[in-house]
């Protein structure tokens, strides 16, 4: 049974509808990516899961519970974490304060979760007292992921984690996503870097003009002649 089950979703921003009849599934521990051309509605689909868009129709279920139309803070309590693509850290707060904010809904900052994040991103332990705004893009991305992991979510939504990073850091970021997934968190990732993402994921969705176009195993999509021609540059 799917942990996240989006079916027939129509959504957008205000009067502008972007998604039409989008279906999306993530099962437990799965690594799913959404790829597609610019403006296909990839980020919109992800934001809709987190309650950040205008709902028009369809349904979103998480762990068998209907979360359609719920607000982000309610959805966090259900066990979904979200890392926006840009401006995803609090620049004037230190690394540790950023991570603490991730666990705000708990009465106390969970020490073991903090340690787990520091174990995954050792550089953050070294720089725990540094202001996040003065860190590099790659390090800020780690802070953002770490913050979303503080509540140990069942499902983590990552909006283009490798966007804007230097080429050598892109691989590192993909490795981090792999590790998060290996540690038992299902991930749903929107990626520009389609080839690499499809190579690493369990399953991929190709979204075009706000609609589902292809759904298959990552490897299968990678070798699909049509997908290669149209979306992966041959």
């Amino acid at each position: 049974m799917a942990m996240l089950d989006v079916s027939g979703l129509d959504a957008g921003y205000g009067d502008l509808q972007i998604l039409s009849d989008v279906d999306l599934e993530v099962v437990e521990d799965e690594y799913v990516v959404i790829v597609g051309p610019n403006g296909a509605g990839k980020s919109t689909a992800m934001k809709s899961v987190f309650g950040l868009t205008t709902y028009v129709g369809g349904s979103i279920e998480f762990n068998g519970e209907n979360i359609t139309g719920h607000s982000p803070d309610e959805i966090i309590h259900k066990g979904i974490g979200y890392v926006p693509q840009t401006e995803n850290v609090f620049p004037s707060l230190t690394v540790q304060e950023n991570l603490e904010m991730g666990a705000y809904i708990l009465d106390e900052v969970p020490g073991d979760a903090l340690e787990a994040v520091f174990d995954q991103f050792p550089i953050l332990r070294e720089r725990r007292d540094q202001k996040t705004g003065s860190m590099s893009g790659g390090q800020q991305q780690m802070v953002a992921m770490g913050r979303a992991l503080m509540l140990d979510p069942d499902l983590l939504l990552l909006d283009e984690p490798s966007a804007g990073l230097a080429p050598d850091l892109v691989d590192e970021m993909f490795d981090h996503v792999d590790t998060i997934n290996d540690n038992g968190t299902a991930v749903l990732v929107v990626e520009q870097n389609a080839k690499e993402a499809l190579r690493r994921c369990d399953r991929g969705y190709v979204l075009v003009q706000g609609r589902n176009r292809y759904v298959d195993d990552g490897e299968a999509l990678l070798h699909d002649e049509e997908v290669r021609q149209q979306f992966l540059g041959g």
Binding site: F50, L52, P72, D73, I76, H77, Y82, P84, E87, N88, V89, F90, P91, S92, L93, E97, E100, M101, G102, Y104, I105, R147, L151
Partner: protein
């Protein structure tokens, strides 16, 4: 061609800015030079300068303390709150009502005491209210001013601003002007437009400074102690507590705070309480310091608070504190060269304009938030 144009524009900007800096620097040097020469040849009295500095610091502490709340609501709610000045006045009246009730119990009717003695000739000086003779009345009043204004600020938010949450700065600003008028004339309605004395005189320490005395009385001391304690308290709150960190996070990025799970409405409520509480305390201390209270002193203070907060970098509480001190000291120091009165206000705004010309985001702008 465009690169050449760019270069020309950049060069021109640089020259203009440098010229400005040069002019301001020269002006400042001339004033300092004149001050030093004047002190040596006896034109300026050192103890008089000392008195100006002390008065300036005291005034600056009030402006800074009141400015913290203005800066906080600006950075977290994104609007300039024009009702802040009248919130200060209301706080002072609430607090002094408490002080009169405690310090003047039995000397007049309860209504007269709670309304801060609207009838002429029966007030604080007659009850002998001062920090020396009735310390409990003073501290009780200060506490009441803080708590009462905090609750009032939350109430105003609920009634006026909360229904407009999400609209941008200008509609909120206009709403706050409406709130300011409502508060101000509510004060007149409840407390009357009569200005009155509030305190009996207190002993002062006269410190010898070369050629004369600088006197600091017990109320000056109370103001310094209370203002500094409150400022340190806010600093610790913002840096150490979960709520404070969430406030800083919200001033960085509200959307991210929301998706992180920070209960933004609760943080906004606390922001109003803390900002309002500080405004009320500042108003109370201002009245303690000047010894008089009237219905519009907060409104008149507001423009100076804006000058201080903008000069310091709006959104930064440290900017508000330092901006307040700079404005306060500059205003009083200017009396060395200028006649007092409204000229000191001109100095305050001139300072603000000069700082903004050289550093448009203010002294602390863009470096320290909340």
């Amino acid at each position: 061609m465009s690169t050449v144009d760019d270069a020309v524009t950049r060069g021109r900007n640089l020259t203009v800015e440098q010229l400005l800096l040069l002019a301001v620097g020269t002006g400042a040097l001339l004033l300092v030079g004149d001050l030093i020469l004047g002190v040596f040849d006896g034109t300026y009295n050192i103890s008089r300068i000392g008195r100006y500095v002390v008065q300036g610091i005291l005034y600056g502490l009030i402006i800074g303390l009141a400015g913290i709340g203005l800066s906080m609501t600006y950075s977290i709610l994104n609007f300039a709150n024009f009702a802040h000045g009248d919130t200060i006045t209301v706080g002072a009246f609430i607090g002094w009502g408490g002080t009169y009730l405690i310090g003047g119990w039995g000397a007049a009717s309860i209504g007269h005491l709670a309304l801060v003695g609207p009838q002429r000739g029966i007030g604080g000086p007659q009850f002998g209210i001062s920090v020396m003779s009735t310390p409990i009345a003073i501290f009780g009043g200060l506490l009441l001013a803080g708590v009462g204004t905090a609750l009032l600020a939350v109430l105003i938010d609920r009634l006026a601003y909360k229904p407009m949450r999400g609209s941008d700065g200008i509609p909120l600003l206009i709403t706050s002007i409406g709130v300011a008028f409502a508060l101000r004339y509510l004060i007149v309605f409840v407390y009357s437009s009569q200005s009155r004395g509030t305190t009996a005189s207190v002993p002062s320490a006269d410190l010898l400074l070369v050629d004369g005395y600088v006197s600091i009385d017990a109320h000056d001391g109370t103001l310094i102690a209370a203002a500094v304690a409150l400022m340190i308290g806010v600093h610790l709150l913002l840096q150490r507590t979960k709520l404070g960190k969430a406030m800083r996070a919200m001033s960085d990025n509200k959307d991210l705070a929301l998706v992180t799970g920070i209960p933004t409405e609760r943080v906004i409520r606390w922001t109003w309480m803390i900002g309002g509480g500080l405004a009320g305390s500042a108003g109370y201390l201002m009245v303690l310091w000047t010894g008089t209270i009237d219905w519009q002193f907060g409104w008149l203070l507001l423009l100076l608070i804006f000058a201080a907060v903008i000069l310091g970098g709006i959104g930064s509480i440290y900017g508000a504190i330092f901006g307040g001190l700079i404005i306060g000291v500059a205003m009083h120091m200017s009396m060395i060269w200028l006649p007092g009165g409204d000229f000191t206000t001109i100095t305050a705004f001139l300072m603000m304009i000069l700082v903004l010309l050289i550093r448009p985001s203010g002294l602390f702008g863009g470096t320290t938030t909340a």
